[in-house]
């Protein structure tokens, strides 16, 4: 079960950050808060994702078998890629203009 969690945690974390940032943006636009909040959220997501990646690489929290270790690290990198890829638009797009 722990191995299974190691495999799923990086992207589930991405999904959580993704939903949080999406929700934050909706509230932000309604309340008229500044876009800097979103960029902060982006930074936080990167930090969390890095923490997971370090954890998976560490001896203490990482997997002991080669297969799970390699796969979970690969998924950790995928999680990081996903964060960078999906949240990058907060830096250069306007937040609240609707189509």
């Amino acid at each position: 079960m722990k191995d299974l969690i190691r495999l799923f945690v990086p992207l589930v974390l991405w999904l959580a950050s993704f939903s949080a940032i999406y929700g934050l943006q909706a509230i932000m636009c309604r309340q008229g808060w500044d876009q800097i909040l979103l960029i902060g959220g982006f930074g936080l997501a990167i930090a969390l994702q890095s923490a997971v990646l370090l954890g998976l690489a560490s001896r203490k929290y990482g997997a002991s078998t080669k297969f799970v270790r390699q796969s979970s690290l690969a998924l950790g990198l995928v999680g990081m890629l996903a964060v960078l890829w999906t949240f990058a638009p907060v830096v250069f797009l306007s937040a609240c203009v609707a189509a």
Partner: protein
């Protein structure tokens, strides 16, 4: 004992009841898998006939064939049947039939649950079929957007058939998903560690976890919409604080993962068959597992790409556009891993391979048009046009139906024990393949020329006539191809031409048994030391038949199999399966009564059926376990293992964990919906917020503390060989406090039709009452079990299962109460 006598003894133990009774009392996974597959294929042909009617209607402009009202029912039912009654059940059937064989087990984790799931599917599906035949089928599209699908747009009973029938069928999907998850994690061959699992098992595991987290939003949406339709609780009515967009979020939160729930099993099939056809092993097993997991989770972050035209801020669209393009990366990894596999092997163009090549040619186009519509501005133009119809058929037919046909021809010798005699299959392939592309390739273009989806006809001079006629003609060619496949299968199953045991020289375990497979699968259970166990030792089948594996000696007429440790595959207990019983069918029937009561608004039937379900459920669980410690048993090769009833985490505990995962997703979606309405819906705040009273808060906190503490003390008492009675009494009091607090919140909001807030609080309250009621029932069950000697220091599995549910009830009560009062306190 020689192989033949062992076969006879095991067959006597494992056989289903003879004659027609066997259909209703079987709990065997091979029987139920076949039943799932058969019924799914029946629905495929029904859905196909509807598709032919659609194409007949659109073949010429201003067709007098049918009117808009009939047409709307037909396209709605075509989509609904293909998605819910064909694709998902076909995956379930495939997994139910093959997983134990691939994993080296004798059955799935919960055989009676398999049967219950099947009967829910059969009864739920027949509700929709009845509506279709009676001409009162759902007609607001398979996506059921309110207000069109609510009382405003559809006052008749039509949408109720959808909301209630599909929810009933989803009960079946959830059951199957729990079952498949636990089976893959625990019911494997000895030595089958995670890295030695057959690749299909990885895909099936991911798919099942996705069903557990992807279906709850739709079940929730259906429940809310039915509550709005039946009782006027305004979740989607904007004047009263609802929002029709809430439905779209819930629906697509399900609907997009659904696409991958359909694609992933097909990808698993390809990853299994393709290496065998190329006479090699899968290239990059680890990469493929990583890609499949990534695909599974990423697909939950792209639901809004079905809502690009709903006026959501561009930045939000950008998130979803980015995620939607990102999802193409793991898909690309899989496609190229498969191509590389063919390159590294020596491919043979057998019929399954032909279908896989057809898959490549089709699915790649579907994937590329998928990337196109992930680009927001392009989607603004083609959304809801025939371009999307074409795209989704390339994905679903190319990415699901073609691989399933490859699977059919690959595993048909296994299911029938025969070799293919007549070669109609190749002709059928070409008819389907050419027919498909003829139907759908040009449909992209007619979409770009402005033909919308779901229009019942069009005018001459629109410029769409030629393409529509071509589509219709080729669609009939495709239909003939499918009928030919059916004839091919029937003919080849009927002709007695005995085939070799492992015709494709595959390396996976399902071929290490006699074909057609006996009811018990393996005469003795294998020890696995590599990923392709059969390739590693080609006489494995014979050695297993001789009883050289585990559990080779039939014992006390028990149906037995092994469970293993999740990560390493080390055997850790012996499971004794239940025997043939009609209980699952009867329970599904009574469950059907509950859904029927809601459908025809005979609400008196609902509590009556509820009592029936409780009675059957108690009977169901009472038959498990035993009253004395049996101790470790001989599993063969000197391995002594306890029965699963004497371990701390029996299969039922794992089943509960995953059922609670689905349940928590449901609750999470409810909270999401609530937050969505609160922040986005126009007509908020409500006329009045709920006011918290001190006694109510006191009751909920007391209950949430007493319940979990009580059950823990009860377990501790049994461990010390004391009486759990007092502690269980405390648990009961805790649950009663929770019920009282829930009731008092509902009493303070007498009118759930006043505003979406009031309605939401009622649903939260109802959810709490349901779970606390369940917790009381379970605690009562434990009291009875303790009195009759089923609980002992070594037999605490049941109590630990109940502990899970009580903890859950306590948590959701606290969260629900906080959620109820939070907006009032914050504003």
């Amino acid at each position: 004992m020689n192989a033949l006598r062992r076969h006879r003894a095991l067959t006597r133990i494992w056989a289903s009841d003879p004659g027609w009774r066997g259909w209703f009392t079987t709990v065997n996974h091979s029987d139920l898998g076949r039943m799932f597959l058969l019924l799914a294929v029946v629905y495929f042909f029904i859905g196909g006939i509807l598709a032919m009617l659609i194409r007949a209607q659109l073949a010429s402009p201003r067709s007098p064939f049918m009117g808009a009202d009939v047409y709307n029912q037909i396209f709605t039912m075509h989509g609904t049947i293909m998605m819910f009654l064909f694709a998902i059940p076909l995956f379930e059937g495939l997994a139910v039939y093959f997983l134990p064989k691939l994993l080296g087990a004798r059955d799935l984790a919960f055989p009676r649950l398999t049967a219950f799931g099947f009967w829910c599917y059969a009864f739920g599906g027949s509700m929709l079929l009845f509506a279709l035949v009676a001409g009162i089928a759902p007609d607001s599209g398979w996506f059921m957007y309110p207000p069109l699908s609510s009382t405003l747009g559809s006052p008749g009973i039509n949408p109720d058939f959808w909301l209630i029938g599909i929810t009933f069928v989803e009960v079946s999907a959830i059951c199957a998903a729990v079952e498949i998850t636990v089976s893959i994690l625990r019911y494997r061959a000895a030595g089958m560690s995670l890295s030695r699992m057959p690749i299909f098992a990885w895909y099936a595991l991911i798919t099942s976890l996705m069903i557990l987290t992807g279906f709850p939003p739709l079940i929730l949406g259906s429940l809310l919409l039915e509550l709005e339709r039946a009782f006027g609780m305004p979740f989607f009515q904007v004047e009263l604080g609802g929002d029709s967009l809430l439905w779209q979020h819930l629906f697509w939160l399900f609907g997009h993962p659904e696409v991958y729930i359909i694609f992933l099993p097909a990808a698993g099939v390809i990853s299994t068959i393709l290496p065998v056809m190329a006479r090699t092993t899968l290239l990059g097993y680890g990469w493929v597992v990583v890609a499949a997991i990534a695909l599974g989770v990423l697909s939950f972050g792209i639901w809004v790409h079905h809502m690009f035209a709903t006026g959501i801020p561009h930045l939000s669209l950008a998130f979803f556009s980015a995620a939607s393009t990102l999802v193409a990366v793991p898909t690309g990894i899989q496609v190229f891993a498969w191509l590389g596999t063919i390159w590294k092997g020596r491919p043979h163009m057998h019929l399954p391979m032909l279908w896989i090549v057809g898959f490549f040619a089709t699915f790649v186009i579907g994937g590329l048009t998928g990337v196109m519509v992930a680009v927001v501005p392009f989607d603004w133009q083609v959304h809801d046009t025939a371009f999307i119809t074409a795209h989704l058929h390339y994905v679903l037919v190319g990415g699901f139906v073609f691989p399933m046909l490859a699977a059919l021809y690959y595993w048909m010798p296994h299911m029938t024990g025969r070799r293919r005699f007549f070669k109609l299959g190749e002709t059928a392939f070409w008819l389907v393949f050419v027919g498909f592309h003829g139907t759908f390739l040009l449909m992209h273009w007619v979409g770009l020329l402005g033909q919308r989806r779901r229009i019942d006809t069009y005018d001459a001079g629109s410029g769409w006539e030629v393409i529509n006629l071509i589509s219709s003609v080729f669609s009939f060619i495709m239909a003939i191809g499918f009928v030919l496949v059916l004839i091919d299968v029937v003919v080849n199953a009927a002709v007695k031409s005995r085939g070799p045991r492992n015709p494709w020289r595959a390396g996976s375990l399902e071929w290490a048994m006699p074909i057609p497979p006996p009811a018990y699968n393996f005469a003795s259970l294998p020890l696995v030391t590599s990923r392709d166990a059969l390739a590693a030792s080609s006489d494995l089948a014979v050695r297993l038949a001789k009883g050289e594996g585990y559990l080779g000696a039939p014992r006390q007429n028990q149906r037995e199999t092994l469970t293993v440790d999740i990560a390493t595959g080390t055997p850790n207990s012996i499971v004794v399966y239940p025997r043939n019983t009609a209980l699952p069918m009867l329970m599904a029937f009574v469950t059907g009564g509950m859904f029927l009561g809601m459908l025809i608004k005979a609400y008196w039937l609902v509590p009556l059926a509820g009592v029936g379900i409780i009675a059957f459920a108690l009977r169901w669980v009472w038959t498990l376990g035993h009253r004395s410690d049996l101790g470790p048993q001989d599993a063969g090769h000197g391995l002594m293992l306890p029965y699963a009833t004497e371990v701390e985490d029996p299969p039922g505990w794992w089943g509960s964990v995953f059922l609670l995962l689905a349940n928590a997703t449901f609750f999470g979606c409810l909270l999401f919906g609530y937050a969505f309405l609160w922040t986005v819906a126009p007509n908020w705040p409500p006329p009045a917020w709920a006011i918290a009273s001190w006694p109510m808060l006191g009751a909920v906190v007391t209950g949430a503390i007493l319940g979990p503490i009580g059950i823990r003390r009860a377990i501790g008492a049994v461990r010390r060989e004391g009486s759990p009675a007092l502690a269980l009494g405390i648990t009961m009091i805790g649950c009663a406090c929770l019920i009282l607090s829930g009731l008092s919140v509902l009493m303070s909001m007498p009118d759930p039709t006043r505003h979406a807030y009031d309605a939401t609080v009622w649903v939260l309250g109802g959810y709490v009452l349901f779970h606390t009621g369940l917790a009381i029932l379970m605690t009562g069950f434990l009291v009875a079990r303790a009195k009759t000697g089923f609980m002992a220091p070594g037999r605490l599995g049941e109590a630990r299962i109940v502990q899970l549910w009580i903890d859950y009830a306590a948590c959701i009560s606290l969260v629900a109460v906080s959620a109820t009062f939070a907006p009032g306190l914050l504003s």
